[in-house]
Amino acid sequence: MNEILFDIKNLSFSFDKKKVLNSLSLNITKADFLSIIGPNGGGKTTLVKCLIRIYKPPIGTILLNNIPLEKISQKELAKQISYVPQISENNFPFTAKEFLMLARYPHLSRFTSISANDKKAVTEAFDITNTNHLSDRHMNTLSGGEKQMIFIAAALAQGGDVIILDEPATFLDPKHEHDIYKILRKIHLQKKKTIVSVTHNINSAILYSDKIAILKNGEIDFYGNSDQVTKDGILEKTYDKKFTFIKHPSCNKSIIVPEVIQ
């Protein structure tokens, strides 16, 4: 049995009296690749934002390695967990390299300058993500796919063992989407990093992650191995829609094919 990384118990969270998380409980295992799927408005983003304390839920507990999240300083948390937010059109007034250097913030102390360690982490992150050629480019000149790759590089440079991603490949073209998942698989397998990825793409969740959690109406409806999700009408119940599955020609997993509309 693998060690538990996040132990989430009875988590509730509301926005303006609207309940987004409803007494949610979930364990996230160390070194797993977990995909969180579910209908829009189910609370996926809210849940991951609670994990890095962007939101501080008033009800329920989150333990990270058995320590309550609120007992860990923000900097200490950032040393362990990196976060890749949803792609936004925000202005990032830095070059890719400066952006990655900023990700070293949790390791810097106020009176020392950038160390050899920091530089090494940044170089490694560029190497792993094959983005060396982008390092001097300004963030605002990058394409959506390139920018997302730099965000993943920054998450690596930050140095934690856990990477949380919110819709890492939505809005990307098929090539960039594939590249992103390839890198995530690589990081997961070679570096033994825990990956938690919120996604709408059920096929990528089935193909690339070890575990899937379905979040609906602020509760966990399903948690299990990713190939189990196509069985027992689980998806049908979740999305209130009929699904057609086929076996992937190169692996044993069932995946979804789009419905034909007559």
């Binding site: 923000q74 900097k75 040393k79 967990i81 913030y105």
Partner: protein, 333 residues
């Protein structure tokens, strides 16, 4: 465009030094270097130079620096060039506090800090608390809404100031009005000593937090996920900004738009890395306000135009230019 940021800083420092050296010589009475250095010549000119012009130029410089880095801090925290202490109503809060002090007329000081400065600080704090609470209760408050709130705060304090003027006698009312226009005519060395601690403390804090400001410029969620203790850092930044703004305003009046124009132009020149940006703002902001003040002395000499009028005449069109430039996108930084 010069790429090396340190070279840019050195160049601007030299320019600022030149401005500092030349500005005290220019005015209604032109003073030559000779008459300052040679003790046997013209005592009056030397007096004008040392007792009037030098303190005036110095206070214009430190005021400009303080307003520029305060503006920079707000712009980075709100990720918008239009969000500055002046536009969000912090300045008018401070102005209200200072005007109230003029009316109440109790001369006092706390730990050596002049009463007017204390009142201005409290006024600035009121505005800051309003902005702070607004940004807290409504998560995802857009900057547009924030600016409208700033307009409301400005109106609110302006009417308070009008009310104070209304119930004041003629001399009080005139001195409040004159002070509201902003200017350096009646400052001396004591004013410098009075506000320097505020500005030193405030700017030191901001210089130390320049990496945090870099992260805040990426957006709050990213800043938190990188390990910034957001509320703590924002509180400290709000505090440092109110210190500086109220220190400056209590002495020289609510001089507007310096904190918007200088940081925005500085960003265009040196980029968004606050480790450099903050120093360019100190140098450029100081020199800019000294230049504006020099203009105010010579434009229609012997009459002096209040320097606040000059910065507002430059700043109004600049504000509108920024608005047009940013109309399709909420972020201007």
């Amino acid at each position: 465009m010069i790429k090396n940021k340190k070279v840019i800083l050195v160049l601007f420092s030299l320019l600022a030094l030149a401005v500092l050296a030349l500005a005290p010589l220019i005015g209604m009475e032109t003073i030559s270097f000779n008459s300052i250095l040679n003790p046997n010549l013209d005592n009056i000119k030397r007096d004008i130079f040392w007792r009037i012009r030098v303190p005036r130029v110095l206070i214009a410089f430190i005021s400009g620096s303080a307003l520029a880095i305060s503006g920079m801090t707000f712009q980075s925290m709100f990720r918008n060039s239009l969000a500055t202490p002046f536009t969000l109503g912090v300045s008018s809060g401070a102005a209200f506090g200072a005007a109230l002090y003029v009316k109440v007329g109790i001369l006092f000081s706390i730990l050596g800090v002049a009463g007017q400065t204390v009142f201005a600080f409290l006024g600035a704090l009121i505005s800051i608390v309003i902005i702070y609470v607004l940004s807290k209760i409504k998560k995802g408050f857009s900057v547009g809404t924030m600016l409208l709130a700033g307009v409301a705060i400005n109106f609110f304090f302006s009417s308070f100031i009008l009310f104070i003027q209304f119930i004041s006698d003629f001399t009080q009312s005139f001195s409040i009005m004159r002070w509201l226009m902003g200017g350096f005519e009646i400052v001396g060395y004591s004013d410098i000593y009075n506000i320097l601690p505020f500005i030193l403390v405030g700017s030191t804090i901001i210089i130390f937090l320049s990496t945090e400001l870099n992260l805040l410029a990426l957006g709050e969620d990213i800043a938190i996920s990188r390990g910034v203790s957001l509320s703590k850092i924002k509180n400290i930044l709000f505090f440092a900004t109110s210190l500086m703004v109220s220190g400056v305003i209590s002495v020289v009046g609510p001089i507007g738009f310096v904190g918007m124009m200088v940081p925005h132009i500085s960003r265009l020149i040196i980029g968004a890395d606050h480790r450099y940006l903050v120093f360019l703002n100190i140098i450029f902001g100081g020199a800019f306000l000294v230049l504006c003040d020099t203009l105010s002395r010579v434009l229609i000499a012997p009459v002096e135009i209040p320097v606040g009028v000059i910065t507002a005449l430059l700043g109004g069109p600049f504000f509108i230019w920024l608005l047009i430039k940013s109309s399709n996108n909420n972020q201007v930084i």
